[in-house]
Amino acid sequence: MSDPEPIATAREDGRATLTEAEGKRLLASAGVETTDFRVCVDADAAVEAAAAIGYPVVVKVASPEVTHKSDWAGGIGVAVGLDSPEAVRDAAAEILAAAEERGIAADVLVEEAMDVDRGTEVIVGGVRDPSFGPVVLTGLGGVFTEIFEDTTHRIAPIDHAEARSAIDELRAAELLYGYRGSDPADVDALAAAVVAVGDLVVGHPIAELDVNPLLTTADGVIALDALVVLEDV
């Protein structure tokens, strides 16, 4: 099996880190739904893309040299809730100017805005453990992972039932099953994404893959961001 296009492109460029767009294309190729997005070279293209995607949108810096987009350039790397052509144009122009100032090659990514309150933010990660090889990690987003370390691990590849057990073992799994009247999340779709992330790490030279967050709603899951780091060649 040859590597999918996003990985091949990064390899050709001599990059170990995939851009967000490449990461999302990789996820999409594995059957994990992602937000609709376009990569644009200038502000005009960004405005066109926003019209095609539909407002509101998110505009992000798109560069292999920027992995922590929201921390970049004083916080202008991610602009959310943009609901007009003017807002998109300004955000895109600001990002491109900051990139030029810093001497890095950058595009802008225009992306469908998601209402994160519609669901639960979940983290699905894949790593290559020195002793066990591909391992897939599942955790609930934000404080649940960062403070409570509420994550579970499985040696990949795994089947659907194993992925369900990895989800159900989370201490805060109740949140996914309808908490205080919220709709139960589509846990089977989440399990399918956990399986897919494990399979990606098993099947390709990926050192680390973070889908953070994966918005899990009653109608399915959607990856809002993706970070993929390849193994050393």
Binding site: P130, R154, E174
Partner: protein, 526 residues
């Protein structure tokens, strides 16, 4: 014994055993390839793979033994190893070119190539640098296994690592299994094969648990504990640096060993975790693991058997995924082995408890639920049966509390054991000299109802000894405290959950649907 040799170490040992998955995975690769990490040397040595099973047979079931570096000087390893080895039923030959005459009734020979009797196993009590030559001679003599006690190999880094590579090369060429280096050896008490230089190993009794420890020191801790618990071991192995015999090879061997009914693992870390897990999954014999290193013990452990300790959470999750319950103490390991190795495999996590005293029963009840078990309500029929046996009984649901030892105690246990809602039976009773234990009732009960029946008691040791031995002889696993019995029942419950797929369903994973069962609640605490 935790010898000084075990304490000065380093991190390369497994690089010579199996390729590291991290570096060997490049480009596309099917997951099943991960199950055959041995491939690399199988390809290099096509004959060695066929000889593989035979090789560990040479180690653990030799026709004869050579003690290389045997010495007349008391206190030297070459003397102690010879002294312990001579208990073996087959011929044991002292090998030393500087000695002559006899030692423990056997004639010294200058080289393993000059032993007239059949010999499969060399116990090497010589310094590390002499090992490549010794192994060449072993190869020439057709010896299939060697124990290397010396340290100063991979764990020492630099030249030591090169020396380890050199001995593995020679061993591979001749198809020799190497236990160690940097180990204190192994025991097979049933055949009096006592290849350790620790004092007291001749007292370790035969049992049906195979102890496979990364550390020779921990192997001995477990072996001596098993003696105090009157359980014994089918074998005790300290793997040390795992030059070419590691966890997977040991598990494969003991799974096929008739004397072994359970396998316990002590693990500090291995670079080849996936192969270890695959071996566990392949084993029909229950495996229980104790992975040390929930806190950061990395540097000390690496300096010990030269292995990375790894992410404890990944180990624990991996073991559960591959059907291996984990515990957190050496005595828990042997208790779990006693439960899993001496009872029918439970078909679910539901524990029925019968106690003659309320207090210990409450401890058991509390503990079992935290350990992964579940206490089901008994059926109406069982409660009626119990009420008929003991009108006005203290408490007729689960746990059933008879209030005191009594002649009818065995009948009550039988009623609970025959309850369809119960998968595992735990009995607690303080010893009452006038009544003894219900040996006749408990003996054979587990087999008849096809469920584990665990028994825990307390009393004056000398008074209850004969009754206890009678119970043990009847095949009942016995535990020393209410907590340890409850924890053992918890391991059985977890084992049942982890193997629910094979058993055909009871217990098992949380249902895949919206709601989560109590199984999920408890199971996740593994």
């Amino acid at each position: 014994m935790a010898t000084r040799s075990e304490v000065v170490l380093f991190a390369l040992s497994n690089s010579v055993v199996g390729p590291r998955l991290s570096s060997s995975v490049s480009g596309s690769r099917h997951p099943s390839q991960c199950t055959t990490v041995r491939t690399r040397w199988e390809n290099a040595l096509p004959l060695f793979d066929e000889a593989w099973g035979v090789s560990l047979t040479h180690l653990f079931e030799p026709s004869g033994v050579a003690v290389v570096g045997a010495s007349r000087t008391e206190g030297k390893i070459g003397y102690v190893a010879m002294a312990n080895a001579t208990n073996f039923e087959g011929p044991v030959s002292p090998v030393n070119p500087s000695e002559s005459g006899e030692l423990f009734g056997s004639e010294f020979v200058p080289s393993v190539t000059e032993i007239d009797e059949p010999v499969d196993l060399a116990l090497c009590c010589v310094p590390g640098p002499a090992m490549p030559d010794v192994l060449e001679e072993c190869g020439a003599a057709g010896i299939g296994a060697a124990v290397i006690y010396a340290s100063g190999f991979a764990e020492a880094g630099g030249d030591g690592a090169k020396l380890q590579e050199a001995i593995v090369e020679v061993a591979d060429e001749h198809g020799i299994s190497l236990l160690g280096p940097n180990t204190s050896g192994f025991l097979v008490p049933a055949t009096d094969l006592r290849c350790s230089f620790a004092s007291g190993v001749e007292e370790v009794p035969p049992g049906n648990t195979a102890v496979v420890a990364q550390s020779g020191g921990v192997a001995h801790v477990l072996a001596f504990q098993s003696r105090r618990q009157r359980r014994g071991v089918s074998a005790m192995v300290g793997l040390g640096n795992r030059a070419n015999v590691g966890f997977a090879e040991a598990i494969e061997y003991f799974d096929g060993d008739d004397r072994t009914d359970s396998i316990v693992l002590h693990i500090e870390g291995t670079d080849d975790g996936r192969r270890l897990l695959e071996a566990c999954r392949e084993s029909d014999t229950p495996v229980i693991a104790y992975k040390v290193g929930q806190s950061d013990v990395g540097a000390f452990a690496e300096s010990h058997t030269g292995a990375l300790t790894g992410d404890h959470e990944v180990y624990t999750a991996g073991f559960a995924q591959y059907g291996v319950p984990t515990v957190d103490a050496t005595d828990d390991l042997l208790d779990a082995a006693a439960a899993l190795g001496n009872a029918p495999t439970p078909s679910g996590p539901n524990v029925g408890v019968v106690t003659a005293q309320a207090g210990p029963g409450i401890i058991v009840t509390d503990r079992i639920q935290r350990a992964g078990g579940r206490l089901p309500e008994l059926t109406v029929e069982t409660k009626q049966r119990v009420d008929e046996i003991l009108p006005g009984i203290t408490y007729d649901d689960n746990p059933v509390d008879t209030g005191r030892p009594m002649p009818e105690f065995g009948e009550v246990v039988t009623a609970v054991a025959e309850d369809d809602r119960v998968d595992i039976v735990l009995v607690y009773e303080l010893f009452e000299a006038a009544l003894g234990f219900p040996v006749d009732t408990l003996g054979g009960l587990a087999d008849r109802v096809d469920k584990p029946v665990l028994f825990a008691t307390e009393g004056i040791e000398e008074e209850l000894e004969s009754e206890r031995d009678a119970l043990a002889a009847a095949g009942v696993p016995i535990f020393e405290t209410p907590e340890r019995a409850a924890d053992a029942a918890g391991v059985l419950a977890r084992y049942a959950r982890l193997h629910a797929d094979e058993a055909g369903g009871a217990g098992g994973r949380p249902p895949s649907g919206g709601s989560r069962g109590a199984d999920g609640e408890v199971g996740r605490r593994e």
